[in-house]
């Protein structure tokens, strides 16, 4: 009751966005502001046109009020994403992507498409990368056992997507296997 059932098994994407919004981005402020102490640290002063690093939530807030321009992170451009897409489609393993790329990319595409070069192409590339990685996750399902599963280079949103199924699957496999109990005496009583 304290926690609604929809939140009990997994994290919702908006919550993942909240966590991702703590990351720092560079902005070009259009107004000035003195150095201010927030709970997560002191930011500013904002002196146009010098660039400044602020958390993503602050940057998107300012952008929505048209008080800054956001400098896209180094991985959010067409060349980088195209190169990654090529790697995804040719390599059987997951390529390296920033851990919270899906959340950060969504926020920036929603709030600041004018600060990105070619937002439509970026959207398409991200969609293709996501589909390629999803296909690989599906294949990774065959490696699931009661023991452990290594997931190199998987990102936050993708883990969240596969979580319910993989957790249930591994749970069932654990029950089926009935190995000798682990050292923990509590678990012994459960089995």
């Amino acid at each position: 009751m304290a926690l609604p059932p929809s939140l009990r098994t997994s994290i919702t994407p908006p919550e993942l966005e909240l966590v991702a919004s703590e990351q720092l981005v560079e902005i070009v402020p259009l107004v000035s502001m003195e150095r201010t102490a927030f709970i997560s640290g002191a930011y500013g002063p904002l002196r146009p046109p010098t660039k400044c690093k602020v958390p993503l939530w602050m940057a998107s807030n300012l952008k929505l009020k048209k008080k800054c321009h956001i400098v896209p992170p180094s991985w959010l451009n067409v060349e980088f994403l195209q190169e990654r897409l090529l790697r995804e489609t040719t390599d059987p393993s997951f390529s390296e992507m920033p851990f919270r790329f899906a959340e950060v990319a969504k926020i920036l595409l929603d709030v600041a498409p004018d600060d990105l070069q070619n937002p439509e192409k970026i959207r398409m590339l991200l969609k293709d990368i996501r589909e390629a990685r999803q296909a690989k996750s599906r294949e990774g399902l065959s490696k699931l056992d009661h023991n452990e599963l290594m997931l190199p280079n998987l990102c936050a949103m993708e883990i969240n997507e596969i979580r319910p199924f993989f957790v249930r699957g591994m749970s069932v496999l654990t029950h089926l296997t009935r190995e000798p109990a682990p050292v923990d005496p509590n678990a012994m009583e459960q089995m």
């Binding site: 994290i11 502001m33 150095r35 002191a42 180094s74 851990f99 682990p182 459960q190």
Partner: protein
């Protein structure tokens, strides 16, 4: 005219550049996840980490009263500063959106705190009977949580007795029966449930269900049953993702 304290604190605050920078990603980077030093985490980032761990773990984790206390104090200070600024008639445009930013952040912190407490409350109510019976869990709960667990367990017991159990024949009245192949009547935390663990630093070897040892390097993510990483999680070497 004395300014609000958050401006003074800002002037004397140390420069911190320690949050997760959206770093450069040269093509051949070795790390799998953007590296983050545990020692440089701000209190809010620590709370977010504990919140995520609590959401994913099937068992109750040790509560973080000190961290919560610090953050609540900070929120109170920020809110009172905002009140001061708003009451001041000659605040300019710049002040207005500064106030707005401070308030936005306060809302974010409050949301995480609320969600953290709700998650713990849900687990406590679920395992209330188990908690009342097992003293070793008591150190993970705060005093208020423990009191609540005990009262809740008593209430639920009383309710079951009044509504159903007292009308049953003697042998079937117990709420402690253990039937083979069924889970016990008292809900217990399921430490076999798989979780995704992310190593924050190189970890000592851990024993997997089939007996083999496995070691996690910094930045790896792995899907294992909870009890395998429980000790590492309590020591802070691993986080749930």
């Amino acid at each position: 005219m004395a300014g609000p304290s958050f401006i003074d604190r800002a002037r004397s605050a140390a420069d911190d550049d320690d949050d997760f920078p959206i770093g450069d990603f040269p093509g051949g980077g070795r790390q799998t996840i953007i590296p983050q030093d545990l020692a440089e985490e701000t209190p809010f980032q620590q709370l977010i980490r504990h919140w995520m761990n609590e959401r994913h773990a099937p068992d109750i984790l040790p509560g973080q009263e000190m961290l919560l206390g610090r953050l609540l104090d900070h929120i109170r200070k920020q809110s009172s500063d905002v009140e001061l600024l708003r009451a001041d008639p000659d605040s300019s445009e710049e002040e207005h959106f500064r106030i707005m930013l401070v308030q936005t952040e306060v809302e974010r912190v409050k949301f995480v705190i609320r969600s953290y407490i709700r998650t713990r409350l849900h687990k406590i109510e679920k395992y209330a009977k188990y908690i009342s019976a097992n003293p070793e869990i008591h150190e993970k709960l705060s005093k208020a949580e423990l009191d609540h667990a005990r009262r809740y367990a008593r209430l639920v017991d009383y309710h079951f007795n009044q509504s159903v159990l007292q009308s049953l024949p003697e042998q079937q009245r117990s709420s402690e029966e253990n039937v083979p192949f069924m889970p016990p009547m008292t809900a217990q935390p399921d430490k076999l449930r798989p979780v995704f663990a992310h190593a924050l630093q190189d970890c000592p070897p851990m024993r997997l269900p089939d007996g083999t040892m496995s070691e996690m390097q910094k930045g790896q993510i792995v899907l294992v049953p909870f009890y395998v990483v429980e000790q590492l999680l309590l020591r802070g070497e691993v986080e749930l993702v």
